[in-house]
Symmetry: C2
Subunit: 669 residues, 2 copies
Amino acid sequence: MSPKITTELLKQLRQVMKSPKYVQEPVQAYIVPSGDAHQSEYIAPCDCRRAFISGFDGSAGTAIITEQHAAMWTDGRYFLQAANQMDNNWTLMKMGLKDTPTQEDWLVSVLPEGSKVGVDPFIIPADQWKRMSKVLRSAGHDLVPIKENLIDTIWTDCPQRPCKPLITLDLNYTGVSWRDKIVALRSKMAERKVLWFVVTALDEVAWLFNLRGSDVEYNPVFFAYAVIGMNTIRLFIDGDRMTDPAVREHLQLDSTLEPEFKIQVMPYGSILTELQAVGASLSPKEKVWLSDKASYALTEAVPKAYQYLTPYTPICIAKAVKNASETEGMRRAHVKDAVALCELFNWLEKEVPKGTVTEITAADKAEEFRSQQKDFVELSFATISSTGPNGAIIHYKPVPETNRTLSVNEIYLLDSGAQYKDGTTDVTRTMHFGTPSAYEKECFTYVLKGHIAVSAAIFPNGTKGHLLDSFARSALWDCGLDYLHGTGHGVGSFLNVHEGPCGISYKTFADEPLEAGMIVSDEPGYYEDGSFGIRIENVVLVIPAETKYNFKNRGSLTFEPLTLVPIQTKMIDVSLLTQKELNWVNDYHQKCREVIGAELERQGRLEALQWLIRETEPLIRVLIYFFSVCFSWVVSVFISAGKRKKKKRKGKQVSVRFRFSFCMCHPQK
Amino acid sequence: MSPKITTELLKQLRQVMKSPKYVQEPVQAYIVPSGDAHQSEYIAPCDCRRAFISGFDGSAGTAIITEQHAAMWTDGRYFLQAANQMDNNWTLMKMGLKDTPTQEDWLVSVLPEGSKVGVDPFIIPADQWKRMSKVLRSAGHDLVPIKENLIDTIWTDCPQRPCKPLITLDLNYTGVSWRDKIVALRSKMAERKVLWFVVTALDEVAWLFNLRGSDVEYNPVFFAYAVIGMNTIRLFIDGDRMTDPAVREHLQLDSTLEPEFKIQVMPYGSILTELQAVGASLSPKEKVWLSDKASYALTEAVPKAYQYLTPYTPICIAKAVKNASETEGMRRAHVKDAVALCELFNWLEKEVPKGTVTEITAADKAEEFRSQQKDFVELSFATISSTGPNGAIIHYKPVPETNRTLSVNEIYLLDSGAQYKDGTTDVTRTMHFGTPSAYEKECFTYVLKGHIAVSAAIFPNGTKGHLLDSFARSALWDCGLDYLHGTGHGVGSFLNVHEGPCGISYKTFADEPLEAGMIVSDEPGYYEDGSFGIRIENVVLVIPAETKYNFKNRGSLTFEPLTLVPIQTKMIDVSLLTQKELNWVNDYHQKCREVIGAELERQGRLEALQWLIRETEPLIRVLIYFFSVCFSWVVSVFISAGKRKKKKRKGKQVSVRFRFSFCMCHPQK
């Protein structure tokens, strides 16, 4: 992949940074954050401003352009990708490494005295504004909001903002009606004594109204805001979407409703003025609740004294704990997803040796198999289909320039998922279609041990996910290996594949405690730059655990894998597994065989079924097995030696040997 | 222990809260934090205001008194103690439990509209002021500084502030002269472009000047502040302490020095006005560096634009990484400490069955043995000597009312340590002088597994201690057990037994990454209210680790125990240990035997040496050993049966059996 040449663009941007047409006073630096006005992680093409200016199109990164420099901050998932996509105008700032300066510190170190730093106030979250603004101010600089987005002024062929039709979800999928969600929200508002709640995150709007859209690729959301009062509901949304009879019916727009459930539909662009009007109408002690990650523009629309900001909104927290209908939907989605992957891996096993499969065709084939499943909507993120050295680019997406042919000599990593109407999936499997090296197996097995350590962890109610992160790394650490990304993220229910407020990460973020019903991913990995990448990812459901002493009735939790796709046993060095880990793999494969086997059979996919059965054969310890057989043979020789005169039948020996080898292989059974 | 009756005191306090003599306007709430003007954890008697008003004298806790309520926030270590020491006027707020409100939220929920909340600005840290003030303001209340401490106004017999002689430490102990420390500090100041640095923590003043004091029990510190400029050094300290010739010589007060190393000695009480003068003299861009935990009063003395606040000061970070002289000192101190404890445990083993030893006499005996060691100064904290149910009170200190006699029927927990001129110790051992129950052994073994998991952990350079906390809990969690305190804290070098900026805790605090040379404690526990307490604590040194792949030259770390006191094997259920854990215990005991044995012998403490040798016998797996003996016996019977005719000697069988049992006991050897 060749980097984007940005010399001319940066020149233009530096001109508008000084142009009185766009800025009151020249700005010496301009910040281009990753997100959109809703602080989304995945964004519509019209919002990909950071990618436009830099060439780097990973899902996380912030660009800062000064008169002399252009710098890009991104995290470990994207170090290689960003380095490949950006030209020499750019400096890569590797977040998470000890010596990398923060954006604020870097600005202070490079800016001339008394500089102005510009940013679009709709794109920067309020908490980030506050942090940056404070540091800059204390160094004698100023962070200033620039109304017109400066990237947009130089982006001549910027695409239109999408406005696609909506999907309504009934109770079978959501478990709770939008009216009941509003009631629950208002009760949380009453608890905190706030009068208004502003819904700014797109997935929160979608979840609240039991609607889905397709404005942003992979994320079934639509551009909208909502402002919920104790007696009013305002939905800010554009286009003809509200003329769809199904949507009108779903939202009861034409019914006679109690006034507090009557939805007022307003233009998307009117949110700022409407919110300013709300702000202006407040009396002392009346509060407006916003996420502290809402945009600086919307947050500032409410006078400071009336703001009630929290890191997570009550919708975010409610959405994370899946109800029975959502959990069942997620289970169904994962069964269908596993069927598709069994088909894929069976196909790859036959096709890869022919040398005709590339990363792109493999990804396409995965999508093809998924799209054959009921209620398939779209993929849940860009498929990471990577072989050999490409596997080490953590969030790699194959493009023609980098597309590699799968072979029997290289590791293949597939991280993919889909949106089904009943749930969202996200699964990574790492396969070898030839003979993996001892080192590759060793690394794979450490990653697997980490995966199992999290998946099988038991922990008290109230534990935050970040406390489990090191379990995933311990086996790698013991040998001096590690991976530069978190271990897990929340997963939406037919919603964003990444969602808060829970996760499993070494980064100390304000995650909410794990609760039964939450769904997260468990995805440790290991990456050898220039050689290969390994990741094993399941989506897991938080469930109550049974323990001997049950934390004095505080209760305990563990995980149940929803993903049921075999983990390639060929890649496992069994001698590195403990008996408990070996049992976990065998139990997991047994469940895959039962649940996915039944569905493959029902769908008549018999070849994939054969593949599944082969791939889920129980593991045994070769060495112990070997010794146990030898040992029992020695014993049987002595038995026969001692009892030869009694002329016993040979059958007796066989039965002794079998019983004995069974004991040695399953000491914990 | 009977609670302190506080009805009259609270009445008086509520009166002064409204008295125009002390407050400009009446305050509806008054906050009594734990610390002193230096935000010390351990404080002088004259600063024990929270204990005076409430009766609760644990090391951590904040009292808030309103017109109607009196509430006390403390953490899991002190729930039982606080409940026992406070009368019914007080509500205990258990920090760390899910439903416990923060102090701010609680204030908002109980205060009448537009209330004023008072606090001594010298006692409240600036960061806490900021947080509380913000929440209170947003709820329509005000946090106001009250110059005169209101507790002091009703505390008629308040003790004098101590002012004891100083100890000077030479290079053999400190490794670095105070001049070189000042040079290093100024280079850090230059790096951050600050002109002034204010030293507010007592241990930081002591460390910087290589001086020690005894103003605060257990903490070898003295009341002082320092303000370091690029060319000036000001030390704020009271009394005749600067007339001591040794101190004058050490600080070179009477020598002709380069002006930038000339120390100006000023009265302790003049810090505020001097700092205000510094603040007033600053030009734009000139900064004053303070800890964000410095008092609100001192922080506010510097105009906001000139403040440079960080969670940890450069002194705090430099102090945490011990140099070779300090590490060697710590090793020596721990050898002496172990000698004292071997003597103690040997003595207890003989005396406890007689029924003559109480928690207090045991603690006294421990102090007696320690005081016999070279360079002993004092204890490093109040000895926690607790048996039976008292052991469940995590930071219990025996007093006559609660004093229990040690017996052969109850678990005994001793958490103790000392200050030696060459180092600080802190060790916990849990013993049974009779026969522990299976349940007690089970719990002890889980705690031991956690202790080993941390002590033997290998992790990459740059890892923060809080990421290791769950390792200590995993074995307990698996069975539904846990403990409500962190796993480890930084330990000073002949300084405070608790120090930042590193630690091992589930609480997400901004700890600095662990570095080779840092010293922390490793102390998981388990507490059964009303029955027993278990804790196993070593002080451990962070050292480089050798790993197979060494994190691509990022390097890796692990711990080396400095504490070398046997862990009672009688309490261990060997069947619950993995082979790796068993080897750890045996290797640890081997080292105790070698290092402490040699010192016991050198000191002629031969009875304690015998005890040490007995207590450090290697563990073996009884069950496996038993089976292996049986098995080899069976094999030998067959051998003899098969070969009886050849009339071999019996010696052959014996050698087979021994070789076999060795293999089974040491499969990893």
